[in-house]
Amino acid sequence: MAVDTAIRVPVIRAGVAARSAETALLRGVDGTPLAEVDQAPPLAATLTVAELRRRPLGEAPPAETFRRMGELFGTATLNGLTPADYCELQARSAGVPISVARRSVTDMAETCANAPLRVAAERPAGAVSHVEPGEIKAVWMRRGETLSVIAPSNNPGTHTQWVHALAYGYRLLVRPGTRDPFTPSRLIAAALEAGMEPSRLSLLPGGHATADALVKAADLSLVFGGDAAIARYAGNPGLVPRGPGRSKVLHTGEITEEALDVICDSVAYDAGLRCTNTSAVFTEADPRELGQALARRLGALVAAAPQTAQAQLPVMPIEQARAMRAHLASRLAGAVEATAPLYQDGGVADLGDGSAALRPAVLVCDRPGHPGGGIELPFPCVWVLPWSWRDPVTPLRNTLALSVLGDDEELALTLLREPSIRKVVFGGLPTHAAGPTSPHDGYLSGDLMEVRAYGVAGRP
């Protein structure tokens, strides 16, 4: 097939780039051909993992390698792409505003450099790195050698999670998301350029069957996906699931400018495509009043082609955008869209080139148990539900990130005690806020690492 694009994303097997007899043409959200992506069928995944098992695995890469990897990601020409080229491709392909990729280019340097520090913070306090003769102590060990990553395309930042796995010493096999092979490809190129041992890095673009083979073959698997994708691998003992975040804000007290700032930032930061973006707000105030205030602010976000600086919303091929909106309409269950009166031509902003941006949606619900509280969609879409002290915890369960607004820290701590709420921020922080070593959904090492005992006889 003749393609008028010079960009090719090769398969990488144990650090070695390879062509495939099967390729897929990756188009931008507007239909423009962007790149040819070599496809790794399931057998490539199986054979790559088998090949890795035949090679001994050494110590985790040194801290300097990660620092250099991050620096290269942010500054170098990798795979023939400058950072600016990469950002444009990522934006046009994934439909994510280019500001997101631009920020990630700078953030990645810090994230990678910080990886060894994070690993040190995660290490159990009792685990030592060296056992002296005469000691029997805890040592921190990997649960396996190979980690497959079934990656998404929603945000370049998602890939920072597997950088941590490299820092634990794992060998990685990444099945990129269909719409963003560029970010993992660039990260892997940066790691190799930084001198990381090649067998630690594989990139296997492919479909469901490739993902299945990879999950089956690897020791452990970090799987990003919707509920159905996660359920698909539920029986796999090595599964580390990353499903929908269903992040929420709990708003108590008055509707203030500050509260609206935090909620809108939580909903729409990075175009609403993060699992830590808020998809539901529970409020002690009148949901209708709050919904209308949010709608006025969110409704002003700019619909534009993703590669333009002013873009603030996710962009998709127009028929997909319409299907997404139709899906939302089918899930309303009596909720009232507060944003609807603001859009004369509906929630889908036709960009005129075959693509469309999804305008924010604010849905006001009349009861705390409305199903909207658990519906997360890949654009700024927020359900506003009533909340009361009669049942403060139940509606807030199953939440990746929860921001508690108001002045009641006791309430925040009560919610922190609920195990299905994975992060609580209090006092005016947006749900996407994170510290340099704070856990995202528990520490990844909680799933990938464990302590074992090691003893050495004393010298006579």
Binding site: A21, L43, P152, A229, R274, C275, H327, E376
Partner: protein, 369 residues
């Protein structure tokens, strides 16, 4: 026992009889009251044409039979046996299609399909595929039971001097498991099959095998089965389902580099189209050559099923069977293929890149991933 039609029905498999002569022989054999099957002679009464006088060419056949619909899943199979076959060599058997996409279709066959397998074996010789010296074993891991595969493999191993070993796979059960979302169950079933493969490999001298690409892939993922197989096997035939070019490349060059690997495209209704021996400049790594003219494959436009597609274009297959044992009028099957220009002045077609004709349906997934 030969008759007037032996020169076309039973011509040497490396020779190609005239298509229209074969059409006339087929019409005469299957529709004459004395030799035809109860099914076809009975059906002919309701045709608006006379197969004996109106169908003299393949184009006549396409034209006349375009309105004849046959529900192969509902015909009592014994009524398909030509009356003229009584006393001829070979015993008829009943064979069913995969039955994974609906009710199984049934056909009958005595010796016609063996000729198709002789044709396949001729290509295997050309490709350096091993022979068994009457002692080595050939392991078939795939459908047996009602499917014609077991008979085909039995014929092929006999022709090539192998003992045959079978591990049965019920494709209908696998399909049902997957259709109802019970992938764990299908995985357990595949593991059950692989355990049996391992058992055969442990004590038997297996040097060749036949299976589906999917099973071969699963074998590679099981070191306890893969390692002994890779060590022993020098010839592998894959078929039954499609395979992409890269998987084929990996099977040939990485997974089983010591083995000669040959593809076979076929099914119960069309017979077996062996992989034509590869040439420099082939448009695809695996080009199949149907057993022309006994199996005619027309590649037609998926929307307008009466228009043939040009060379190097994709289309669906329309299959006609013209053999002593079975007549199947032009029938559109589910496979999509690319039509290729035949080499060596071969009068039939060649096809490649076989895929099931399925339309993908996009679904909305809730969540940011």
């Amino acid at each position: 026992m030969s008759d007037d039609f032996a020169t076309v029905f039973e011509a040497p498999v490396d020779q190609v009889p005239d298509l229209d002569e074969l059409v006339v022989a087929t019409m005469t054999w299957h529709f004459s009251p004395s030799t035809g099957s109860p099914f076809w002679t009975g059906r002919a009464a309701s045709f608006g044409f006379d197969p004996l006088s109106d169908v003299k060419t393949y184009d006549d056949l396409l034209e006349c039979f375009s309105t004849v619909e046959v529900d192969w899943s509902a015909i009592p199979a014994h009524t398909l046996i030509p009356r003229g076959s009584a006393g001829r060599p070979g015993r008829f058997g009943v064979y069913e299609s995969g039955g994974t996409t609906g009710a199984p279709k049934r056909i009958v066959d005595a010796t016609s399909r063996r000729r198709n397998i002789e044709y396949q074996s001729m290509f295997l010789d050309e490709q350096g595929f091993p022979t068994g010296g009457l002692e080595a074993g050939w392991l078939h891991v795939g459908p047996t039971g009602p499917h014609i595969m077991a008979k085909n493999i039995g014929n092929l191993t006999e022709l090539r001097g192998f003992l045959s070993y079978f591990v049965d796979l019920d494709p209908r059960w696998v399909k049902r498991c997957i259709a109802t979302g019970r992938e764990d169950e299908s995985n357990r079933y595949i593991d059950h099959i692989l355990d049996q493969v391992k058992d055969v490999l442990q004590s038997q001298d297996i040097r060749a095998m036949s299976s589906t690409p999917r099973i071969l892939e699963r074998i590679v993922a099981r070191p306890d089965v893969y390692e002994p197989l890779r060590e022993k096997v020098r010839g592998i035939i894959w078929g039954g389902t499609s395979v992409d070019a890269e998987t084929l490349n990996l099977l040939e060059n990485e997974a089983f580099p010591e083995a000669t690997i040959a593809g076979a495209y076929g099914n119960t209704m069309m017979g077996m189209a062996p992989q034509r021996t590869r040439r420099d400049g082939d448009p695809s790594p695996c080009v199949f050559r149907p057993f022309y003219p006994y199996t005619i494959v027309d590649v037609v436009d998926p929307v307008d099923l009466t228009t043939r597609v040009p060379v190097d274009t994709r289309g669906v297959v329309k299959i006609t069977a013209l053999t002593r044992d079975l007549f199947m009028p032009p029938t559109v099957e589910r496979d999509m293929v690319t039509l290729r220009a035949p080499l060596d002045g071969h009068p039939g077609v060649e096809v490649s890149d076989v895929r099931p004709n399925e339309t993908a349906k996009e679904t909305i997934i809730e969540g940011v991933y």
